[in-house]
Symmetry: C2
Subunit: 181 residues, 2 copies
DNA sequence: GATCTGGATTTAGTAAAGGAACTTAGCTAT
DNA sequence: ATAGCTAAGTTCCTTTACTAAATCCAGATC
């Protein structure tokens, strides 16, 4: 669906979407995590048009999210496995799944449970403060311009953000969630 | 093009993408979090075609992720604010941003820092075990069919998953990340 | 009364999605 | 021996969505 490239945005969300945000791509990665790694298996599982699947796989390989590795089954065939970069996407995938679990689940319950191998407990994505180590709610979070911030697409917000130590900005940082009034 | 709807997948990732996964939609939500809530401001910030923005806003409002609220500026105008459902999407957005920060950042550094209002520490999305409370790495995580699992699109993986207490499945659960050999 | 502004809608051309058939090359069942 | 099967695509065609630019509209401002 992509005409506009997001790769030149000064925004990590946009740059992420540019790599894995196309229609079908996150589902292809989901299948890779669940062990569905071959063209026909992915195609049958998702019902994705073969042409689109071929394009998406090529894009994901090109960006180093998947790697195309040969295996033998008579003649040489190929599997698509996650690279380290791809495996690192799991947190985002779980966060997307969690949101669907919370807001889009029917009466039957969630389709998939994700659990910790150690204790069997359910695994969920949460925002954690690197400093105090606590899980943080979404109303105590602020955005601040980072060193890579610059004027351009996706940065209308710059004037609203508190900048780093050297640059000027508003006195108050921008809360990412409005406080209830 | 008639994009395939993901709403009938038995997969929370697919159902999430069906609501917020269209090209541009996550960036519109990002702007909403950062306080850019008016049509022209979003349009100018992202450079999104006006027609597409109008469609996306309508879709997000329809699904209850944003709400269209009137405000007065001479005549009545409208702002698009996050609902609770929309605000709950922040964890997923941060997870996507984190991945871009780690894998797609240039030499200048990250465009945006997200910090904890309390202590000022950086905030990151992590997978947490609900049982033991620990952050879990992506190689100690398993998928198991949940109560809402069923045969259908996105569920070729069912035979590979350990089912709940009442149903049969393989003895070993499926690790979401392959163990290194 | 002309222009500006916010919030869109319309129009028109182009790029991409969807669906189905076709390709290739080794293996297998008749 | 040949017909069929399989995996991994590729090709072709139709339909739809995206992008860009122009237009609309009503109140405010010059």
């Amino acid at each position: 669906m992509q005409r506009t490239s997001f790769s030149d945005f000064a925004c990590s969300v946009a740059r992420t979407l540019d790599v894995v945000g196309e229609w079908w791509s996150p589902l292809i990665l989901r299948d890779a995590f669940l062990g569905v790694t071959r063209f026909d298996n992915i195609q049958k599982d998702l019902g994705i048009p073969r042409k689109v699947l071929a394009e998406r796989l090529a894009t994901l390989v090109e960006h180093g999210v998947l790697e195309r590795t040969p295996y033998r089954d008579g003649r040489v065939r190929y599997e698509y496995h996650l690279t380290e970069k791809g495996r690192d996407f799991l947190t985002a995938l779980i966060a997307l799944m969690n949101w669907g679990d919370r807001w889009l689940t029917g009466p039957k319950g969630v389709p998939l449970n994700v659990t910790h191998s150690g204790c069997g407990g359910n695994v969920e994505a949460h925002m954690i403060c690197k400093c105090c180590g606590e899980a943080v709610a979404n109303d105590v979070i602020e955005g601040q311009a980072g060193p890579g911030a610059r004027i351009g697409k996706g940065t209308a917000v710059l004037g609203r953000l508190r900048h780093g130590p050297t640059k000027k900005g508003p006195e108050k940082p921008t809360p990412l969630v409005e406080t209830k009034s």
